[in-house]
Symmetry: C2
Subunit: 404 residues, 2 copies
């Protein structure tokens, strides 16, 4: 049987990272390739208590169909935290021009996918940082066969001149996708000045911003920088985040905060995908956020990642030759390494595989999947301290076999 | 702000049923409008035990990211039951031409949506029974802006002549969507002869069949009829079902059984939507299916619905005038009523609302949403026995105010 697949999907590959993670491994393998939250950040004991409580008192609600926009008490709890802590969410009642709504999605990735689905016609351009989150690139491709246009990411955020040129060159673009805080894969954070410039450009070119902020709660160094959404006076920013890094990744709960005209369309599209998000865990997360010390829990997670990131930076400083550059993140899960142009990056990644060290080649995150990259991504949230130390040693050993 | 939405979503409305369910109600309101499984069918006690066990022994696996194709032991347990009980799932190892794979999706609706996403270009035709499941129609529209072509549903399945004409008139169609068993909304079942004819037509016109079977386990009368998938010698049937009606609807777990070339594309597309389905409940369902009396549980559910359906049929026989026709289902959750042409169906539905009885107008399920309908759908799984009796009385009272 010759199957005839749609163009949007025919050439799409599974995420290279997820394929790397599926490759056979043994006890000696060390993976810096994952993007998993550390298992010790899941509040297991409290979740078990709440689950028992829901089964005992609210089981028939929790196991029955729910509404597509999400469990109302969870929506309210998230909206309240986002407004009080981060200044996110406008309301006419508070004197703003429009209302933002908070709706629940099945992980942040669904929020990204729905934004493209409701806004973009097939084949239209979507402006992205380059490199960027592979899950977003694949969502844009598999949903609307998007032309993903990359804007180079510099140390303090996207190249603003290149961004304006991309907007001029691609007048079909309706959407700009950005991860301004602890970017995946680069671990970089866009400066306040650049966030303002990006917002101004979006207004000027009548393009909406999809601000993805899955790591925003994970700052362990430096000063907070306001989100672009908190500057949104005109209702052009769709803000997307999730509970994956602060509750559990496997439960698949994310959220969107956007003008209600936009969330209404996203909810209609979501209804046609999965009807609603797992209701039991929506109820569980609501209880955890409102009846337990959620802020204390988030601070515990920050401490864990502060330690893990410091350890990795220390071990990289100790083991790597000077010519191997890497970013120094202030939060999030990743750092980003850059090889000199004279080194064959593919051979480097292969050499790491040979010593049972997994890293993700930078080309994985390119808007143009055929473009080369001199970079690779390292993750410090998943490996243990011992694995971080041993993995950095292996990385140093590999690096010393190359001559720049 | 004037938002520019994509054509596929701009005119799409939320499901009329879900809007009806959201309308204000009071203790006197009786709803025959839902499609919810009866709450007493959820195995709450056993699920609570298993959940406690998972939190105690496998929490970090259950709360971490999982693989996109689903939890392997659950996939295996479902595939085994589908093959042993229903003859579904081909395998080269068993002498078939191709391998079928079982993959997990976030409810049956996601399976339907993914099938359209991977196969259909924007605006292409999808052949459907008319009436059909509104969730599928909305998925086809919101994902690929499909031209949904309706084929009249007769008492023993789709009108085969009309089906062949639709295939001839719409050569762009790559997909035919059918609910052969206890159809939603009509409660009708396609005969074996027609299933064979449909399969032959799909082969002749090189169209794939999406066989949706969410209610297949819920037969409480009559003889089993083989699924179309069980006849699939060429790998052209995508079989879609779910655990919503036999475990819990709120957990959002469904599955697909289809040739591996097809499931591979569906998994890539699913990965871009929600990465994977809630892992905790995948593990929980696997343990329930393999360590408890799952078959006995399914038989208990059949007994519950046999009773509820019989009660509704008895009360309709007692209360309705002869001119109000209705189907007599052998399984599933719904029956379908037809008004004489001389009666204003919209006025009839409104009169039901006025006596606090909710029913779903038939036009909701039309492939052409602007086409009228003389029908309405009744559900017997959600209301209590008392509500079934009182609701049928109200329906009879309303009917007697109309003169055919």
């Amino acid at each position: 049987m010759e199957y005839r697949f749609a163009a949007r999907i025919a050439n799409l590959k599974p995420s290279a990272i997820r394929e790397i993670l599926k490759a056979p491994s043994d006890a000696e393998t060390i993976s810096f390739a994952a993007g998993n939250p550390a298992a010790e950040t899941f509040p297991v004991k409290e979740m078990a208590q709440i689950a028992a409580d829901i089964f005992a008192t609210e089981a028939t609600t929790a196991l029955q169909y729910g509404v597509s926009d999400g469990y109302a008490p969870l929506r309210a709890a998230i909206a309240e935290r986002q407004y009080n802590v981060w200044g996110i969410g406008k309301s006419v009642a508070r004197g703003d021009k429009f209302n933002d709504e908070c709706v629940i999605v099945s992980g942040g990735n669904q929020g990204i996918e729905l934004a493209a689905k409701i806004l973009c016609e097939e084949g239209e351009s979507i402006i992205c940082e380059n490199p960027t989150f592979i899950g977003a690139l694949n969502a844009f491709r598999s949903t609307v066969n998007a032309n993903t246009v990359g804007v180079p990411l510099l140390d303090d955020g996207p190249d603003i001149e290149a961004l304006e040129k991309a907007l001029q060159d691609h007048p079909d673009a309706k959407l700009m996708y950005l991860i301004p805080t602890f970017q995946n894969p680069a671990g970089l954070t866009t400066s306040l000045e650049k966030r303002r410039a990006i917002y101004a450009l979006a207004l000027k070119y009548n393009v909406m911003i999809l601000e993805d902020n899955p790591y925003g709660e994970l700052r362990f160094a430096g000063e907070e920088i306001p989100t672009i959404k908190s500057m949104d006076t005109e209702g052009i920013v769709i803000y997307c985040s999730s509970l994956s890094k602060i509750m559990s990744a496997g439960i698949r709960i994310g959220f969107i905060i956007a003008p209600e005209a936009v969330t209404a369309k996203m909810v209609v599209a979501k209804q046609s995908e999965d009807v609603h998000t797992n209701l039991f865990f929506q109820m569980l997360c609501h209880k955890y956020m409102t009846q337990y010390d959620f802020q204390g829990h988030v601070e515990d997670i920050r401490n864990i990642y502060r330690h893990k990131c410091s350890l990795m930076l220390q071990e990289l400083d100790k083991n790597l030759p000077k010519w191997l550059k890497f970013t120094r993140p202030e939060g999030g899960l990743f750092l980003w390494c850059t090889l000199p142009d004279s080194i064959d990056a593919t051979a480097f990644v292969r050499a790491c595989m040979a010593v049972k060290l997994r890293i993700v080649p930078g080309a994985t995150f390119n808007c143009d999947p055929s473009a080369p990259s001199q970079c690779f991504r390292l993750n410090y949230s998943t490996p243990s301290d011992e694995q971080i130390i041993e993995g950095c040693k292996r990385l140093g050993d590999v690096a010393r076999t190359f001559q720049p």
